[in-house]
Amino acid sequence: MKIAVCVKQVPDSWAEKKMVNGVLDRESVDAVLNDLDEYAVEEALRIAEAHGGNEEGGPHTVTVISMGPERATEAVRKALSMGANDAILITDSKIAGADALATSAVLAAVIQKGGFDLVICGTESTDARMSVVPAMLAERLNAAQLTFASKVEVDPSAQKVSITRVTEAGVEEMNASFPCVISVVEKINEPRYPSFKGIMAAKKKVIESRDLAAVGVAVDSAWSLVADSSPRPPRAAGIKVSDDNAADQMVSFLAEKKLI
């Protein structure tokens, strides 16, 4: 199997984020591998390991694909140190501020060219939080969409995948044939910490850098544009009580606010 894992470098969840010229200012904040993508990397490795492994010369490969500035190499390197085989980083000044539609178009072109059986993603990036790229990838690749999986089972010889997912409609079982785009929720596994050996090995692994010309996709300016943005006044803390009749005071507060 050829497995692709899509990852994104994002500002640290704790970093204070701000908008500059209608896009997130990424320069001024610490950047890390989107922690929800670690579950995707882990799941890809587990799928490979369950069916013969992804060591050199083994039957399966796990390729990390990312789009971002040069410094996204750090996030990609982390995924490699967990055990992925190689990586493709799409870097181009024209993709700064790309929206989900452009991102999915670029990723889909790279995935199409690579001929992957499975594409595994996290459910969302912790910065934009749209949760739309996996569905867009499935649409663009004409592949089966198996998203929000809390369990994934792959039968490589039959080229079939079945997943379990929890949705508003309840607990669903879904299945599909290769190629599939899968997104995995954080409950699915416990991502491994890169071992020292893994970190050393990752330094020698290939991160292929491509620009948009090499990918063969032109990126328009974003199809949705920010007109303006403004910081919201922080919520001020209100009343705080700690005495014995706190519960009564709380109920009175709710009644005053007409919430009861």
């Binding site: 949705t167 409609a169 079982e173 949705s224 910081p231 803390a237 519960a247 709380m250």
Partner: protein
Amino acid sequence: MSNVLILADFVSSKATKTNAELATVGARIGEVTAVVLAPSGKGAAMAAEINKGPVSKVVLVESDAFVNNGVAAVADVLAQIIATQSPAAVLIASHAFGKEVAARTAVKSGSGIITDAVDVSADVTATQLVFGGSTTVHSKVSHGTPIITVRPNSIDANVAAATPAVETLSLQVSDASKKATVTSTQPPVQGGRPELTEADIVVSGGRGTNGDFSAVEGFADSLGAAVGASRAATDAGWYPHSYQVGQTGKTVSPQLYVACGISGAIQHRAGMQTSKTIVVINKDPEAPLFEIADFGVVGDLFAVLPKATEGVKARKS
């Protein structure tokens, strides 16, 4: 007058109250047509549920693929309707399913997409609250048909009774949209409480419950509220994952959010920060969630909640 499509929102064939919210927003832009995509034989009953808010018309398509093949099938037919009706905007409920439908529909129709809007104006400018609610953003789709998902509970809905005319369309779901198949569905156990993202009041429990949600549930029931949980509580297996509030869980925006024994990690705040009123109960006076509480109680939730439950019941009787 221009035409606006709303994708009618159903859970287990029951219309949600989000439909009136979508219609209210849509009516600012143009005449609202609700698109009802129903499994075979259920269309008439589901269309009849679109009976509130400023909806002028219902277009109905029946296909079992909407249930069996999910997002791909819904987006397929929605894109076909967009192609023939050229609406000024398409509005969809902003939950996981709605956002994925919007995503695929945007790709199919060559349109821009905005998700998690909390408001949309007459000129189709969307308001979003980003970065954990710390920043307000106004944006517009600049390409194709604006496809906007609107967060449930954000809009003060017009719920006047409506009897829109129903037009049945005969549209096919292509085989390309049937690549993933739902083989079984176990409906969630609701237990009579309102749905989390739709509820006017949400009472959530966290690490401080120590796994005992009875006090949280008791207080929630006295208020007719939904019950939520923090990631710590769902990770520990104390409450089902589908009730998780926060990043990777549900985003809620109720009139009242009561956080019990939740310290307030940034990931939790991301899912509840836009609640209109926030009440926090925590033993630890330093819990960060107190910073955004309108009313904070420093105390043991097992002592505070039963008393408060009695207090609420007394006022209601």
